[in-house]
């Protein structure tokens, strides 16, 4: 499980997409389809944030900037009626990456909590811009009226199955790319910076440059999830850029686990499932969500997949295979010390 090659990841990815396609045919309940679609969208959103939180040790409160930029740029381009979906998607992602390159250059100068709030400040500027620039963005109404979804490569996203498969496929591709980043030499440099940025400097690693690149990559992937969200609602809404939209992926990371690669994806699933189940029975969604988060933080003290992974590696260690425990969790003290 630990050090797979890129090709193996691709093979697993193809398998997963085929399985999800099959699932669509077997289970015909549109509610389940939507659950999977939202899990993909928000799972990718949370995974991209976890590149910063889990692997680099940088908590960002403004991750929705990339998400909203992706959704709005894509939505605006599609509303012109002259863009193809792949081209608009490409431009939306590049735009979000470019914006992140500028914002990131400022934010990474700040440390920890200041970094977190600086990213949030930029997000709120974007939010204000969206709200006030009514002629372009539709203000607090959002991009209304929908847009055409011209078929490309035989894929017609106005058909539910096509859209479902498109979201699953794009998510899987992005997850494979993200995994490549994390398993690359660059990804390990991020771990080194997270563990001990001071020591990293003295090994010749330009810490700020690496943080900046990771910030841009994470924002670009968040833009991809924003684009898929825009396609889901056929528009874009200012709440995509509101601060609570940045809190959601943080909840998902907390629920699913930040030390295990797919933890945030599981977190996204849990949160969407909760959302569906709880809102069916009570209006007090926030109350239930709060209690669940309390349970995870006070009870488990880490995300669900982290707990599972720890158990599995504990058992393996007892059975005699070597690979020691989970990364980080057990070693909070050691991290503090250095």
């Amino acid at each position: 499980m630990k050090h797979e090659t890129f090709l193996k990841d691709v093979a697993i990815g193809i398998g997963v997409v085929l399985l999800l396609a099959l699932l669509f045919q077997v289970i015909t309940d549109p509610g389940i389809h939507d659950l999977i679609i939202k899990t993909c969208i928000f799972g990718l959103f949370a995974l991209s944030l976890n590149l910063l939180v889990g692997y680099l040790g940088l908590v960002a409160f403004g991750h929705a900037t990339g998400f909203a930029t992706g959704a709005y740029v894509f939505g605006l381009l599609m509303q012109t009626g002259t863009w193809t979906i792949p081209a608009a998607m490409g431009v939306a992602v590049v735009a979000a990456a470019a914006l992140a390159a500028v914002i990131g250059a400022f934010c990474i100068r700040a440390r920890e909590i200041y970094f977190a709030f600086l990213t949030l400040a930029f997000q709120m500027i974007l939010y204000s811009a969206i709200i006030s620039f009514v002629s372009l963005t539709g203000g607090d109404q959002g991009l209304m009226g929908g847009y055409p979804k011209p078929p490309f490569l035989g894929i017609d996203l106005s058909r539910p199955f096509d859209y479902y498969l498109f979201v699953c496929g794009v998510t899987v591709i992005c997850v494979i790319l993200l995994r490549q980043v994390i398993q690359s030499p660059f990804g390990y440099a991020l771990r080194m910076i997270r563990d001990n940025h001071e020591r990293s400097y003295f090994l010749g690693i330009q810490v700020k440059l690496y943080q900046w690149i990771a910030f841009v990559i994470a924002s670009a992937l968040a833009a991809v999830s924003g684009v898929m969200m825009s396609l889901f609602v056929t528009g874009a809404f200012p709440n995509f850029a509101y601060w609570s939209m940045s809190a959601e992926p943080l909840f998902m990371i907390l629920l699913g686990g930040m030390q295990t690669f797919l933890g945030p994806l599981l977190g996204a699933f849990i949160l969407q499932l909760l959302n569906d189940l709880v809102t069916e029975h009570t209006r007090y969604y926030g109350l239930v969500l709060g209690l669940v988060i309390l349970f995870f933080i006070l009870g488990l003290r880490r995300g669900l997949l982290d707990v599972v992974w720890d158990k599995v590696s504990d058992r393996r260690r007892k059975a005699g295979t070597v690979r020691p425990a989970s990364p980080v969790t057990g070693d909070a003290e050691a991290r503090e010390r250095s």
Partner: protein, 251 residues
């Protein structure tokens, strides 16, 4: 190879390093000693670029590196280990060393390829053999013993193939037996590596046994310098630091 010319550093009103002028010959093994607060670690921080001097020059092979950023100084061949082992808790020993070697070869910015297949196993196990960490290759750094953490810190510096290696109290916090083992390793590294080595040390037995030259600092200034025999007899050093000749080995 390394020359400090009139290097000066003050923190607020406190003078940490007071117009220090020192010359370290290429390939030499020298010790810096002095009471707590004498400015020994500050001197290392100035050389390695952790802090900038207020004045003076730090000359490495003819080039002034005072005020150059730490990562750039690393590239120019100065490696260092820290008083409190500075390591990567969540990485295994071999992962940490792979990272260091990759950084030395300027390959850490690569997004292609896999870290665990970077083809550096040979070099990494060479470093582990040199530092005696081979048995701990797959141990998480956080789970290493204190002594092994200090060794790993040094091994990380060695991975950069430095021309000049700065060791800040390599034996700090170790028992007597462990100390000698550590210092023999350090000496062996210096012999095989052909590098210039400067170390800070409080254990006078060790200092007088292995150092070719000793520099004594007091209140940030150079009190004395010379070969061990001369330092041992220097009345100023005895008064300031070593104590009466009869108890000269007290640390």
């Amino acid at each position: 190879m390394l020359k400090l010319e009139n290097v000066h550093k003050a923190f607020g009103g406190v003078i940490a390093v007071d117009h220090v002028t020192l010359d370290f010959a290429p390939g030499s093994l020298s010790a810096i000693i002095g009471p707590n607060g004498a400015g020994k670690t500050t001197l290392f921080n100035l050389i390695s670029g952790r802090i900038k001097p207020d004045g003076g020059r730090v000359v490495l092979d003819g080039e002034d590196i005072a005020g150059v950023h730490a990562t750039e100084i690393v590239r120019r061949g100065i490696g260092r280990a820290f008083q409190v082992a500075s390591i990567f808790p969540t990485l295994t020993v071999s992962e940490a060393l792979t990272g260091a070697v990759l950084s030395h070869r300027r390959r850490t910015l690569t997004l292609a390829g896999r870290f665990h297949r970077s083809g550096l196993d040979e070099r990494v196990s060479e470093i582990m053999t040199l530092t005696g960490l081979e048995a701990q290759a797959d141990t998480l750094s956080a789970n290493l013993s204190h002594g092994d953490q200090k060794l790993l810190d040094i091994a990380l510096a060695i991975a950069l193939e430095p021309k000049l290696l700065l060791l800040d109290e390599p034996t700090a916090g170790m028992g007597p037996d462990e100390r000698w083992l550590m210092i023999e390793r350090v000496q062996a590294l210096w012999r095989t590596g052909g590098m210039t080595l400067i170390f800070i040390e409080h254990d006078m037995d060790i200092v007088f046994k292995i150092a070719q030259t000793i520099r004594v600092l007091k209140y940030g200034a150079v009190l004395a310098e010379g070969p061990p025999a001369a330092i041992r007899e220097n009345p100023e050093v005895i008064e300031a630091y070593l104590g009466a000749p009869a108890e000269e080995t007290a640390s």
